[in-house]
């Protein structure tokens, strides 16, 4: 019996980690901005960041393909500067997973930020702290559960993306073939052993993530009591 090719599993893991990192860097500041603003620009940004949840993944993938392809300004610029294309590479898979998953982080983190009493931020300002310091010392500690839960959701969603990834990164074996796509390919090729193994892995990872999120959210609902219960 030939050994199982677990490349898709490790690629998916790497893609999901990278997409989660990218989501943290871009999504958290965006969520913070949206939690503070009520203007028309904020509404537009809000709509734009919610769109990936509504659009079919293939449509989303198509847009990304047009936006990042070799003929597009962005694609050309990256190819000329870094000597690599964005589409049909693992990088393309990361971007696809990021776009599909980041709305979940924004929604969850934004709700957490918005639930912070604005007087706490005012108090910190009057007591001499800078905006950046307030973010690190007051806002993040009070909303980290919402942010963490959002990040887990991003990871799970990035790990499991099929449609957009297939459109943008393709299914080149040992290069851009991620787990969900590999499952589909294995099934078509009649390789039930591989399909079953990958399905098992995906299920275990997803269920564990969901369980962890439940734990975090439960403590979040208990709220301030968790601070009181902490013994240092």
């Amino acid at each position: 019996m030939e050994p199982l090719n677990l490349f898709p599993f490790f690629l998916s893991l790497k893609v999901a980690v990278a997409a989660t990192g990218l989501a943290a860097v871009i999504g958290i500041p965006l969520a913070y901005y949206l939690s503070r603003s009520r203007g028309k620009i904020a509404d537009f940004v809000d709509t734009l960041t919610t769109l990936p949840v509504i659009l079919p993944p293939t449509v989303l993938g198509y847009y990304l393909l047009v936006l990042l392809g070799r003929q597009s300004p962005i694609g050309k610029f990256v190819e000329e500067t870094f000597g690599t294309t964005l589409v049909f590479t693992p990088l393309g898979a990361v971007i696809a997973a990021f776009v599909v998953a980041v709305p979940f982080l924004i929604k969850s983190a934004r709700a957490a930020f918005a639930s912070i009493d604005p007087n706490l931020i005012r108090a910190a300002k009057v007591l001499g702290r800078s905006d950046w310091n307030i973010f690190l010392v007051v806002i993040l500690p009070l909303s980290w559960r919402g942010v963490a839960s959002g990040l887990m959701l991003v990871f799970a969603r990035a790990l499991g993306d099929f449609g957009a990834t297939l459109m943008v990164a393709g299914n080149i074996p040992n290069e851009t073939l991620t787990m969900p796509v590999a499952i589909y390919d294995a099934l078509l090729a009649g390789n039930h052993r591989l399909a079953n193994a990958l399905v098992m892995i995906m299920t275990v990872v997803s269920v564990s993530l969901l369980y962890m999120m439940k734990r975090v959210e439960k403590r979040m609902i208990r709220g301030d009591g968790s601070h009181a219960a902490r013994k240092d």
Binding site: D117, N119, L120, R122, A123, A124, K125, V126, L127, G128, R129, S130, N133, V138, P141, L142, D224, G225, H227, A228, R230, D232
Partner: protein, 348 residues
């Protein structure tokens, strides 16, 4: 001395106020939504006025003409928020030390320990705000504010989150603590007249984003300048005056065809009103000027007195009768007396 003259416009509201506050406790009194808290936020630099001036002694915090707008962190203003705004994830100790960031560690530790002793919360250093009573939370909030040695202390409705029966004790605690440990300007926002009366030296009365009257509290409460101010501080007897006449014994005001003798000689511009506080009405047996036959239309029982609605041939008014005087009032035929020295003119 704090000098404030600011304007800030919103779609359905306009704040346009000017006042000065000196050392001691100045109350900003007004109904909710009249711009009291907004004023505090402008002074602290948390909101930016559209135009105007905020100057503490000789230091300008905000000057729209000179384009001065000092950041909140550089204004050295103490601000105690309505719900105290203690950081729920930090201990009592960490909350109190919050404003001392950047100071040497030994100094912070010493100052915080001193402060915790002052507010009597030794043994609570490592507790979280959620584990404290309302009164203890208030003390921590005050300690956190005063530890940075501000020049101005802003108190936003400090007793709105407190149980009614705890209030009196907490008021005493807060005021004596402030008097003992703070010598600067205190601005105290409240919508409660009795609270303002008990705690403040001076009063600034707000109404719909404007200052309608300010001054020492005795003056403001004894002599509201217009009908709006009078209603806010509990004057219910307000009569439109038809005309006045100066005679040698005083002023005479004509109201609904009757004459009332008034000792007050300060007559504001029209529309002219006459007022007397419900507490100042008397019941007498002899026949003198300003007395009227009356009947009681309605009686409401209060803790120590009755609020009675009284009807004479020409007007209705509200009087307060102490419970101990009630029986003698009903026992004999008396007349209602409006003491000329307690009648005063005000603007409509």
């Amino acid at each position: 001395m704090l000098h404030v003259k600011i304007k800030k416009a919103f779609p359905h509201f306009m704040l346009d106020v000017a006042f000065t506050a000196e050392k001691g406790i100045t109350g900003i009194l007004g109904p909710s939504g009249c711009g009291k808290s907004l004023t505090l936020q402008c002074i602290a630099g948390l909101e930016t006025p559209d135009e105007g001036l905020i100057v503490l002694n000789d230091r300008p915090f905000f000057d729209s003409r000179q384009r001065v707008n000092v950041k909140p962190k550089d204004r050295k203003i103490g601000y105690m928020f309505q719900n105290y705004a203690l950081f729920p994830h930090l201990t009592v100790q960490q909350n109190i030390a919050f404003g001392l960031k950047g100071k040497p560690k030994a100094e912070i530790e010493q100052k915080v320990a001193e402060m915790i002793k002052k507010i009597g919360l030794q043994n609570y250093e490592r507790h979280y705000p959620a584990e404290l009573s309302g009164g203890q939370q208030q003390r921590v909030a005050l300690a956190r504010t005063l530890i940075v040695e501000p020049d101005v202390l802003l108190l936003d409705e400090p007793f709105s989150a407190v149980d009614h029966y705890m209030k009196q004790a907490l008021e005493q605690q807060l005021i004596s603590f402030i008097q003992e440990h703070f010598t600067g300007i205190v601005l105290f926002v409240t919508h409660n007249i009795e609270e303002a009366d008990r705690l403040c030296d001076r009063i600034i009365m707000y109404h719909e984003g404007k200052v309608i009257q300010s001054g020492p509290k005795e003056d403001v409460f004894a002599r509201p300048v217009n009908v709006t101010a009078a209603r806010m501080i509990g004057y219910e007897n307000l009569f439109p005056v038809d005309s006045i006449e100066r005679r040698h014994e005083g002023m005479v005001a004509f109201i609904n065809g009757i004459e009332l003798l008034v000792k007050d000689v300060n007559v504001p511009p029209s529309p002219l009103f006459l007022s007397v506080h419900a507490n100042h009405l008397l019941f007498v047996e002899d026949d003198r000027p300003n007395t009227f036959d009356y009947e009681i239309v309605q009686t409401r029982t209060r803790m120590n007195h009755f609020d009675v609605m009284i009807k004479t041939e020409h007007f209705m008014l509200q009087a307060t009768v102490a419970k101990k005087d009630w029986d003698s009032l009903l026992a004999s035929k008396k007349k209602l007396y409006l003491p000329p020295e307690h009648l005063f003119f005000l603007q409509g």
